[in-house]
């Protein structure tokens, strides 16, 4: 079972949402769920910092949300399907989020996808990537 969890850690650029991440990100993800209601989205947009205070998450998690630093949010226990609700609230496409997380422009990301997407070659294993 330790083996089960460890195996994923060899995969580059990927956070697997296991028990550790889920426990770490519980309140961050609950905040994201709250954005499924239009009234909450409006309240969040009106004063993001104040809204975030309503959820017992860490200061680091709050900062990551304010900065829309999705990779940081992932590292701090956010799950992408929950985090996507922040993107939706911002009116951002999933492609824009994906381009941010992979540190390229949205155009470059779109072009990569149209050209067939990111290749798995060199992306299977951390050792292979080096």
């Amino acid at each position: 079972m330790t083996d089960y969890n460890e195996a994923f850690k060899d995969i580059p650029g990927t956070v697997v949402f296991d028990a550790t991440q889920s426990r770490l990100g519980f309140h961050l993800n609950q905040f994201c769920m709250s954005l499924m209601k239009a009234a909450n989205r409006a309240e969040f947009k009106a004063d993001e910092a104040a809204y975030l205070k309503k959820f017992p998450m860490s200061e680091g998690q709050r900062q990551a949300v304010l900065a829309r630093d999705y990779n940081r949010m992932l590292a701090l226990g956010g799950n992408i399907y929950f985090l996507a609700k922040i993107g939706a609230t911002d009116g951002h496409s999933f492609q824009l989020l994906a381009s941010k997380m992979s540190s390229v422009s949205e155009e470059a990301y779109r072009a990569m996808m149209i050209a067939g997407g990111r290749s798995v070659e060199g992306n299977r294993s951390k050792s292979e990537g080096k």
Partner: protein
């Protein structure tokens, strides 16, 4: 006697729903994708299923981290489209088939699957996008739908082998249901895609093609793929493919592939689609 006449698998990318709902299906970006479902729409109009058992995953819409069922079967009269953060999709309400859904719940629980029975649930793009792809934009979905939500968000998801066996148990359940119904089972999600982190945008056509081939050639081999291989080869969200094994497990061993479509990209995703008919 009810019987499963066919299985359908298809990706369920949210952007496809947006393109449809905004009338952008003829744009150059989207046209090839929707063209790939033209055959399927004609086929299903002829098949006229009475009920579709729609295997999908909830994407943090109906289920938060407060409660995460591995397998949840929708037994309600109806299911409303979920608000995923930009308002609910303007598609028809999904009408359930409570009699058959409860029958499947009972039969699978007695066959030692630990189902969660759900009587109130909103359904997100994972369920409604496949309906749009297969049925277009009618005022009312032309058949009853039984949602079967599978956890693939919180690790660990069910094993491929477990999904396969659930499919088998569903087939047995359907075939022990008296009314003479034409039932389809759909598996949704996949194919290769990764929505998160620096590796976002990963696509693996080779893996996807082998998976599609395996569905007819050697489905049991697919049931032995470990979770880590899905994530490594097909991206973190490629794990959704385990749901296709529920569909496949519910079909006959010699189910026949009658249609296949593969297209990259729809937003971040490799779209795969296959139709298998029971003999």
């Amino acid at each position: 006697m009810a019987r499963i006449i066919a299985g359908v698998a298809t990706s369920h990318v949210p952007a496809i729903g947006v393109a449809l709902d905004q009338g952008r299906t003829q744009e150059p970006y989207w046209q090839p994708l929707f063209a790939g479902y033209e055959f399927s729409k004609r086929w299903i109009a002829e098949q006229k299923p009475d009920v579709v058992i729609l295997v999908y995953n909830d994407h943090a819409s109906a289920f938060s981290l407060e409660l995460i069922p591995t397998f949840a079967i929708g037994c309600a009269e109806s299911f409303a489209p979920a608000d995923e953060g930009w308002g609910p999709r303007q598609v028809p309400v999904v009408e359930g088939h409570p009699e058959l859904a409860w029958h499947i719940a009972q039969s699978t629980i007695l066959d030692e699957f630990d189902m969660t029975i759900v009587n109130r649930m909103d359904v997100d793009h994972g369920l409604t996008v496949p309906l749009s792809l297969m049925f277009g934009q009618p005022d009312r979905w032309p058949c009853k739908i039984i949602p079967l939500a599978v956890n693939v968000v919180q690790y660990p998801p069910p094993t491929g082998n477990r999904c396969w066996n659930l499919g088998r148990a569903i087939r047995k359940a359907v075939e022990s249901f008296d009314p003479d119904l034409k039932v389809m089972i759909w598996g949704t999600g996949g194919m290769s895609h990764q929505l998160q982190g620096p590796r976002a945008g990963l696509i693996n056509r080779e893996f996807d093609t082998a998976f599609l081939d395996g569905l007819t050639r050697d489905p049991l081999a697919l049931t032995r793929i470990p979770h880590v291989d899905y994530v490594r080869e097909a991206g973190s969200e490629g794990i959704e493919l385990v749901m296709w094994l529920i569909m496949r497990g519910a079909l006959a061993a010699d189910a026949k592939e009658i249609y296949r479509f593969y297209h990259v990209p729809a937003s971040n995703t490799a779209v795969g689609h296959i139709i298998l008919e029971n003999p």
